[in-house]
């Protein structure tokens, strides 16, 4: 669930639907009653009120509870549209073509597809991202953090009440080689503003015993990954912690519900490090239910490239998301040169 910084292909983005790029964007003045701004991207319109985010498009409309919308929008922004499709719910979402993005209503919903009412437009990724960032900034009130678990933050409801730019502007952690190496992503500590989470108070904070010979201090290196994760201040937001070429270990701490149904464009592996997550999987293209996967500490499973998945974690848990960041994979899968499931037996 984490993007490599160099994932965007230098080649022209794939455009399997042959859609033209939209270029019309607008930010409306703040509404007199609610205080929130409205936004336009292509033919899509976005408006929020006290409880809901409202989305419109020619001949269609949809609404989501605003907490659901903000948590999903936050991940789409933080992850740079991510790998494949980010379904905010069963109707609205985005699909990343790495440089360009499709935004859709109903494109991954069987009823919309059958009735021919799905609506899709295509945008340059950086232009749509600019609007999304303005939206998450304007629609997030003081005291509400869309990255946080519901029990750890305030409520998003009501009319415009300040902002929380520090929370929505967090930078995703992306180690270049390994957390803790000189010049790489630093360890977390109380002093650096990362206290141990209330649900991980029992996680040992000891560090490995490292005995480096003189001259090798920069390479004889280790750190406590579990302690590092116990101090994560966000949920469902993988950070790159170790890198072998395009193999990215992206562990994260999870509590409550993955805010999106993620329809990856490549197989995605989950390694459950502690506690338990229940995954629901659905058909990537239609949303039809396919399976329930219960992962306990030590369990490993893959999400095939043709499903969308959503996780549920009651007790905050540690999950290692393992990604292959190669930009070649989506086209290999689309062209049938790579399987949806990485191993058959």
């Amino acid at each position: 669930m984490a993007m490599s910084e160099d994932t965007e292909s230098a080649n022209k983005p794939a455009n399997p639907r042959g859609l033209p790029l939209q270029s019309g964007f607008a930010v409306e003045p703040a509404d007199n009653r609610t205080g929130y701004r409205a936004f336009k991207a292509g033919s899509f319109g976005f408006r929020r009120d006290g409880y809901f985010a409202h989305i419109t498009w020619p001949n269609g409309r949809h609404q989501l509870a605003v907490d659901v919308f903000l948590r999903a929008l936050m991940r789409d922004v933080a992850w740079g549209f991510f790998y494949g499709t980010v379904n905010f719910d069963t109707v609205f979402g985005t699909t990343n073509y790495y440089g360009e993005v499709e935004m859709f209503a109903g494109a991954t919903n069987e009823s919309f597809i059958r009735s021919g009412t799905a609506f899709i437009e295509r945008f340059k990724a950086d232009e749509l991202m600019r609007i999304f960032k303005e939206m998450i900034g304007d629609w997030t009130n003081q005291g509400y953090d869309p990255f946080a678990a519901p029990m750890e933050t305030g409520a998003p409801w009501g009319t415009k009440n300040g902002d929380n730019d520090d929370a929505v502007g967090r930078k995703r952690v992306t180690a270049k080689r390994m957390v803790g190496l000189p010049g790489d992503t630093p360890l977390r500590s109380d002093a650096s503003g990362y206290p141990v989470n209330r649900m991980f108070a029992d996680v040992p904070q000891d560090e490995p015993d490292v005995y480096a010979e003189p001259g090798f201090e920069h390479e004889v290196s280790a750190y406590n990954l579990f302690a590092y994760l116990s101090r994560s201040d966000v949920t469902w937001n993988p950070s790159v912690c170790s890198v072998v070429k395009e193999s990215l270990f992206c562990p994260t701490s999870e509590e409550f519900i993955l805010p999106v149904e993620h329809g990856n464009d490549r197989p995605e592996w989950f390694v459950q490090l502690t506690d338990e997550i229940i995954w629901t999987t659905k058909d990537r293209d239609t949303g039809a239910f396919r399976a329930q996967v219960v992962c306990k500490a030590g369990d490993v499973c893959v999400m095939p490239a043709d499903v969308r998945h959503q996780g549920f974690s009651d007790k905050r848990s540690m999950l290692l998301v393992w990604e292959n960041g190669s930009p070649k994979i989506p086209e290999l899968i689309r062209s049938g040169k790579a399987p949806n499931v990485p191993v058959t037996f």
């Binding site: 080689r177 957390v179 209330r198 649900m199 991980f200 108070a201 029992d202 996680v203 040992p204 490995p208 015993d209 490292v210 005995y211 010979e213 090798f216 390479e219 004889v220 290196s221 280790a222 406590n224 990954l225 579990f226 912690c241 072998v244 070429k245 395009e246 193999s247 270990f249 197989p267 592996w269 390694v271 459950q272 490090l273 502690t274 506690d275 338990e276 239910f289 396919r290 399976a291 329930q292 996967v293 219960v294 992962c295 306990k296 500490a297 030590g298 369990d299 490993v300 499973c301 893959v302 999400m303 095939p304 393992w322 292959n324 790579a338 499931v341 990485p342 191993v343 058959t344 037996f345």
Partner: protein, 166 residues
């Protein structure tokens, strides 16, 4: 005292979840458990539990002293339950030991010339760099579970049917 208790697993104490299908095959999820793999493996057999094109995650049962390994790229090892020690040696001429274009770990019949880099004692949740150009071996007084981020190579064992839910 916290009201929450974090559930870890260990080679001698683990509980598996599983896949319940609605309209699918459990084999599509390649579901296994790392502690189960380690518990039922011989020491230092590096079993692939996850594979994504050329990349793999291997699980090994640490017990006693391993042979020496080396690799033409970085690898990372995480100890998942008990203690394991990693010994590192900087090879004088790593390209003569393994092809620098090769992928995955290679087992060495003997330790080539090099200089001691140091050692690391890992416990539950600790991750260590196994740097390119080094040889390394593991030591564990009692069984422990190792997870290794690497590339499919000559020592990677593929036993999917043995460990995955079908």
């Amino acid at each position: 005292m916290s009201e929450y208790s974090t559930q870890f697993g260990a080679i001698d104490a683990y509980e598996r979840g599983g896949v319940s299908v609605i309209a699918d095959s459990p084999k599509n999820y390649l579901f296994s458990n790392m502690f189960d793999v380690a518990a039922r493996s011989q020491p230092y057999v590096r079993v692939a539990v996850a594979k994504n094109f050329e990349y793999v995650i291997e699980v090994a049962r640490a017990e006693g002293t391993s042979g020496w390994f080396t690799c033409a790229h970085d690898e990372f090892v995480t100890c998942l339950d008990y203690s394991c020690e990693v010994h590192l040696v900087k090879l004088d001429d790593p390209d003569s030991v393994v092809d620098p274009e090769s992928e995955g770990a290679h087992a060495l019949a003997e330790l080539p010339p090099g200089r001691k880099m140091g050692r690391i004692v890992l416990r539950r949740g600790h991750m260590a760099l196994l740097p390119v150009g080094a040889a390394y071996r593991f030591e564990a007084a009692s069984p422990a579970t190792l997870m290794i981020q690497t590339i499919d190579g000559p020592v990677t064992a593929h036993k999917w049917a043995e460990f995955c839910q079908s």
